[in-house]
Symmetry: C4
Subunit: 137 residues, 4 copies
Amino acid sequence: MIPSTPSRDAPLGKRRWAISAGCVPSRSNGPEPAFTSRDQFSVLNTGPTLANLRIRVLYERHSPIGTYRLTIAARRVRVFRVNDLIFPEAVRLDEPYGLLIESDCPVVVQFTRHDTRQAANAGMMAMAFSDTSGRSL
Amino acid sequence: MIPSTPSRDAPLGKRRWAISAGCVPSRSNGPEPAFTSRDQFSVLNTGPTLANLRIRVLYERHSPIGTYRLTIAARRVRVFRVNDLIFPEAVRLDEPYGLLIESDCPVVVQFTRHDTRQAANAGMMAMAFSDTSGRSL
Amino acid sequence: MIPSTPSRDAPLGKRRWAISAGCVPSRSNGPEPAFTSRDQFSVLNTGPTLANLRIRVLYERHSPIGTYRLTIAARRVRVFRVNDLIFPEAVRLDEPYGLLIESDCPVVVQFTRHDTRQAANAGMMAMAFSDTSGRSL
Amino acid sequence: MIPSTPSRDAPLGKRRWAISAGCVPSRSNGPEPAFTSRDQFSVLNTGPTLANLRIRVLYERHSPIGTYRLTIAARRVRVFRVNDLIFPEAVRLDEPYGLLIESDCPVVVQFTRHDTRQAANAGMMAMAFSDTSGRSL
């Protein structure tokens, strides 16, 4: 029913993604760096070309910051720690933030948090949000 | 293939969201308020106008309560603790609930739970649900 | 741009949902019943009529079981523990399973697991899957 | 409004899925094998025919590996541990990876991580990503 030939290598994903539950804890518990408290987002580029990302960080009581520019090579995944976003400006610790991620080709974005402020290694994971009206750049 | 110009600044998100797995634990473990057991939802407004939210809380054995009215400024994120929803009525502790969130402009809603009833800091996170037939207000 | 009047009270959700990562641990740690290891799914019915659910459980090496019949009243949420599914047959412990949930009106389904086999109260949460081709009953 | 007859037994799901936040920890804590640190993905095949999966693993700094071929019988679920993917090649430990999963019939894919590097049994769960333009094989 569905022709299978041309889509085999079509990149999977969307061009606009967002998360709203960001918060980088400033305290950690356990050996560095594996157990540092952190928010991170993982970006998968299944396509044949370099993906160029533009990211803005939105806050509760401050103006948005960015644009952060990141790239993911063709057929590669990359994990970005939010506290490694330092140019043009470091992301504030212990403050809620949201991320708006735009890419020039389809990617898949997943968000994880490792919260090690207490002895237990708590983790959370969610696919980022992308709606069907999403267009990019 | 996809024209990129007009969508660059189009707000990302949906106007109707729901979560069904709500439950605010009444007990906590750890220093207040960072480790208080809590359900919270984070709302990202990437658009250029104030987002007006209307929220109803649905229970297992009680009538729905609300409407709670909340706002998120343009290009801001806000985190709401469910136990801070007190007007017109506080949300019941230790009882399952669902949330129906309606906004007058597109937003992104993520739901998290920090359960600190035991010593370990357990966390859960999910994007709220929004379907494509979603309309608002 | 979008007419807002008729959709205000339209129920939010889908009629077919699935989860694939089910597994009910047989061991627990902590006071009963709040800390019993459990899989549970939460169903939100935002609509004006009773929702009738038909649920089948699929296994790795056994035939599917069911149909379990459950109801959710209008404008109510209900939480079902998978180990409370006992008629026509109890769900096997410590065996992977998937759930196929069909409803005669739109609902929202979220899945959570509390794993208390070790001292820490681990939790996981995800929206169940529902695709746009989903039809029901 | 929606005809209900033909869809009752239509398989639920999509043919292309991806996760981007993969990472198999090499260390564990607790009795084997239940508490081994692991990434796993659960695939539900609600349809009447065998599902043939083709899986590729994408890395940060290495070429993609695969194709891994897996099957799920009709009306069955299967759980795959990522560190059991050993033919044609084992998946690297402690390195971020993404998964691209293609199936010849609709399936539902959920991703979970059990991280037992510290004493607490941390868990994370997410539905894998599948977009509406997804075609397969």
